[in-house]
Symmetry: C2
Subunit: 676 residues, 2 copies
């Protein structure tokens, strides 16, 4: 099979001697983190550390020296290095901090350290009372050689050292000159580049702004924001909701699509295939005579209104996220202007969406296998660019798993190359490898299977995989208890307590989480039909009018949860999530902490929305920085209660109707007396 255009693989070039310095004796293997042999970048946010490990060794018994090299993507060569130290079994470790948004690169370098080897050998010889005169002369040569590589002042210093050592080689003082404390670090500053092996790969880091790692999202249908029932809400109406959303402590206001909606084959209420004349249609059926992906639905307002909304959102300390759904209604201008971007049926019509035998005649999928793909890619990129120009920096991408992976890798690379601050959330609910691949190729955050993980075993296994394996290097989970498409059974049957349980789990397990509001805080849980996860009278097909001050609202709990998240850095990352045993399968216990253990949170959740559950948790105290037999105070940040716990085993009892979870801050052991 012919392979036009794809450049040949070059990493299998046979080793030709002229291409390397044959004196390099160090081998570097199993560098970590490294995703798929370096094919993909790892992710960090500004201010985070990157801990790098590698197996580094050479023939023989010489001492090695190793370091990390790292640099920003704008530089061509390493600009900084960080030392590595040996762990056990030829494994080395070092770390560095990323301080700027954008791309970084890192690699590893190791070399045989002749001076350190010589110095250690010298100590052994001296201990064995051997004559070391010749050895001292060898050392003097090594120092003089290094002087040639050293910077001016150091060079002078080393030349002098070599001279002194050479002169006193026959005297007792030679040994002490050779072993002087200041000499070793000075020598190590100037390794011989001809002996240094650099790892053959340059590994990449995508460094995002902190919100990529820590964010609370609030999803709304703008047309439901009208203060008057039965009216189509506008972007200006949405502004009146901002104090409410901000007061709950959210960071991101995510708008479902705001574009003109098609009328051909428009869906009616409850996804009916026949719409009434007053049905508003699904915001995801994008495009009409009034415009497509770069237009605003006239009933919502104007582009001017949108820009003003973006400003207002910022004034409330929030940020807008826009929904990008690359699909078209039959009325989208693309259908006329670019029929070549769609698949044509033999009868001349454009092919509508299908999942045979189901048909979705209100949607035309784009045909990414068209001969004109490059023009299509460029146009879709320009959609992102258009909204960036209106001030948007966060995109929630609808169904990315039904468009080519190579397109996303390209378009995200292009956009982030110009705007590294942009955050992309992948709304993919599909097979595991596709979910992970979307994260690898650049999505900043990802929806997860959280919505369907309810039991202790399911939650423990899934979040251990996401946070304690290589997956954590590139996949940032964003946890949603429900979405307009997904009303999980657990919420349908579990009542208000179920919403509380899933809220606490999402917000505590995930540094990124979101809710579909106000449906969520009002505990809306009527399903279209038994066994269905569709909402009854789904907001996807009609305008909603709700009482935000309803008594059953979880608004206060949500506000408390978001404040706890903001006050406790332990909850702002998922890397140090760990689960602790409980003796009751309906009690889930986990902890998060900062790297330095200065902030430690233990969460215990009753997974049963109907019954009180009690039992013993068995904490892994060392992971919390606690000694095994001391008492320590825990402060329940949800209830404001305080408990004195002791050792690993402690009793908990949680009543779902009241508060189904403890969110316990562990207070420093020496402070509980004062604070209690």
């Amino acid at each position: 099979m012919e392979r036009p255009g794809l450049a040949p693989t070059e990493d299998f070039r046979p080793m030709e001697r002229p291409q390397m310095d044959v004196r390099r004796r160090v081998a570097i293997e199993r560098v970590s983190p490294e995703i798929d042999g370096g094919r993909f970048a790892i992710k960090r946010v500004v201010g985070e550390n990157v801990v790098v490990e590698a197996d580094i060794f050479a023939d023989g018994h010489d001492q090695l020296a190793c370091r990390i090299l790292y640099w920003q993507g704008t530089e061509r060569e390493p600009q900084s290095s960080s030392p590595m130290v040996p762990l056990v079994n030829d494994r080395w470790q070092g770390e560095f901090r990323v301080t700027k948004i954008g791309t970084y690169r890192y690699t590893v370098e190791g070399w045989t350290d002749r001076f350190k080897t010589w110095r250690d050998d010298l100590s052994k010889r001296i201990a064995a009372a051997q004559d070391v005169q010749v050895e001292l002369l060898i050392g003097a040569e090594l120092i003089a050689d290094t002087a040639k590589r050293a910077a001016d002042a150091d060079s002078e210093l080393l030349r002098e050292w070599a001279r002194r050592l050479h002169e006193s080689a026959e005297k007792e003082s030679g040994e002490s000159i050779a072993l002087e404390e200041e000499l070793l670090p000075l020598m190590e500053r100037y390794p011989d580049p001809n002996l240094a092996t650099r790892y053959e790969k340059e590994l990449r880091i995508t460094v995002d702004r902190p919100k990529a790692r820590f964010s609370a999202w609030y999803e709304i249908f703008p047309r439901s924001c009208s203060p008057e029932a039965g009216h189509h809400g506008t972007l200006q109406d949405c502004e009146t909701w901002l104090p409410y959303i901000a007061s709950m402590g959210f960071d991101v206001v995510y708008l479902t699509p705001i574009h003109p909606i098609g009328s051909t084959h428009r869906k009616g209420k409850n996804n009916s295939v026949v719409a009434e004349s007053d049905d508003v249609g699904s915001p995801w059926a994008i495009g009409s005579a009034e415009g497509g992906h770069k237009s605003i639905h006239p009933q919502l307002g104007t582009l001017q209104d949108f820009r003003q909304f973006v400003s207002r959102v910022e004034e409330h300390g929030l940020e807008v996220a826009l929904d990008i759904a690359f699909q078209c209604s039959p009325d989208h201008p693309y259908a006329d202007e670019h029929p070549e971007w769609f698949r044509k049926r033999p009868d001349g019509a454009i092919q509508y969406a299908e999942n045979p035998p189901k048909k979705y005649q209100d949607i035309y999928p784009l045909n990414f296998e068209t001969a004109d793909t490059l023009a299509l890619w460029d146009e879709l990129k320009s959609v992102f660019q258009f909204w960036i120009d209106q001030g948007v920096r966060i995109f929630r991408v609808d169904n990315p798993h039904t468009k080519p992976l190579s397109f996303w890798e390209w378009v995200i690379g292009e956009i982030k190359g110009q705007h590294p601050e942009v955050i992309f959330l992948a709304e993919a609910f599909t097979r595991p490898h596709v979910m992970l691949r979307l994260a690898k190729i650049g999505f900043s955050q990802s929806y997860t299977y959280f919505s369907w993980r309810n039991t202790k075993q399911e939650l423990t296994e899934y979040f251990t995989e996401l946070t304690q394996t290589d997956v954590r290097e590139y996949f940032r989970a964003n946890l949603w208890p429900a979405t307009p498409d997904i009303l999980p059974q657990f919420l349908q049957v579990g009542g208000r307590a179920a919403f509380m349980i899933r809220l606490v789990l999402a917000a505590m397990l995930g540094a990124n989480y979101g809710i579909y509001g106000p449906a969520f805080e009002l505990c809306e849980n009527a399903a279209l039909a038994p066994g269905s996860e569709e909402f009854l009278y789904s907001e996807k097909y009609e305008i909603k009018h709700r009482d935000l001050n309803a008594e059953e609202s979880l608004r206060d709990l949500i506000s408390r949860v978001n404040k706890i998240r903001k006050d406790n850095p332990a909850l702002q990352s998922d890397r140090r999530l760990r689960f602790h045993e409980t003796d009751n399968p309906l009690l889930l216990c986990f902890s998060k902490s900062t790297d330095d253990l200065s902030n430690v949170i233990v969460v215990v959740v009753n997974l049963d929305s109907f019954n009180k559950q009690s039992g013993w948790v068995n904490l892994d105290l060392s992971s919390l920085g606690l000694g095994t037999d001391h008492a320590f105070q825990v402060h329940d940040l949800l209830s404001d209660g305080r408990f004195l716990w002791q050792g690993p085993r402690n009793y908990v009892e949680l009543t779902p109707g009241n508060l189904p979870a403890h969110v316990l801050r562990v207070l420093p052991q020496d402070s509980y007396g004062a604070e209690f």
Copy 2:
């Protein structure tokens, strides 16, 4: 730090659209086997299969088709392919056989299969009783398109099919034409190359001759072969040993170094630093006025004698292995001719070998960090070539871990490029990563830690690592119960039974194994000192004269063991080694089998050389191809005893003084009645 000469890394080229066909939608990940991201070749012998797996997936829900591409190193492009089938969770698997010695390459290719997708969808539509007229027209177009890519006869066939389908699209018969059995395989023969993603790496296989995987080695000091005590043996004397060695069933006669031995600082008996005038010196102190690595010690004979010896060895169905030890005595011609290949001390002398504070003044190590390294590399390569020209095809390389890894990768690549039949055995006893790296860079076989692995836990863990992880793809263990350098404690204290135990373990756990003879079969176990692993009166420093017919000789047991190995293909590979539980920590039970389970061997060894041990083994029957509740016969190939076993739990009892092991061939379940 400057990096002269090393080409830039190219696998991080940003994805540029013109370099790929943007319609390729398939992603390929986690290809297995793949060693260190494809940096190193896997190993096979002629006739073996390579099972390849990969995660292969695309966006959306289209059907995929996948295959392995493979070709010999002499070809530039894939010449063959093998289909892959889906396992679970987007994992695909296929296999192919390597039939020629040398290098192979393989990679993986996957594409969206439009026709299969269309065909499956059509079936769903038909089942839902939908009108499929337009669908049939779409199918006719697909077939007509494919006809353009197809070979002459097939093209004609497909054009006709398209025409028939198009014509009858409106009739009932259209559906049956579309689903005709012959059409699908015909269509699958001509995938659209523009849609096919090829994995970005071409992975390598080093294909060796079968002896690289299955061999029994017998190590001798040629100078000890004289029929007369006190005489220096010759190569002609060695010929008289060949019937003895062949009768025991060995494949390889490994000669310790046969070169002239230096006299400066020659070591005396028991490694004494002062030699007596009649001391013969260590064969590893290579080089004298009579020559170096390309010369034969005059007392052993001439080059003519050596070539004759090689012929005689072949006549006995054996093969010579030569010891290659790249180090020099102070009298080696290199010291005069190439002083630049050694490190010079400030006093002008050449630096002798050291492990401070220990000094080895009889050895000059080569200095691989010399400026003249390339000339040194070329000379050392010519040593291999010299002995290849004399008929040698197997080299046992002494202490490779004290010479640069890059040198070995280069020299093995050079030699095997010309002589792919050459086998290199790495005699490295050093840190784990260095051991493994030597195998990765090309050594065909490797010494192991077997000599120091005695307990059930040690043996189980170590051989599980070697045979059930990726290590097995490149590291071929060669197991030695003892060597001239290593007389393990277990043999020192355990008497004859200990030798029997270690023989059976080496020969059964390892498809490659070797003994240091005749010391081993004569159960020589006197150590130089308590705690030492050196032999007393080591053959390294003096000539030995032994009675090969001594009563205590293990010759008969060794013959039986080697015959069992040759008769049973299960024992000729390590890939299907698995351990089975026993309820006695001193009983080790393991099995080996052929891939098709036609030959299954269960070995039970009493690890206690002093006491009878008994207990129950608990077999994993499914791994042996046995049902859970049937009786089956096992035939002890060592004792010729037969037992009727039933189910997983069976009783064993082994007396070390008698036979400390069962080597049980599992007979087919339906044959035991006839054979018993």
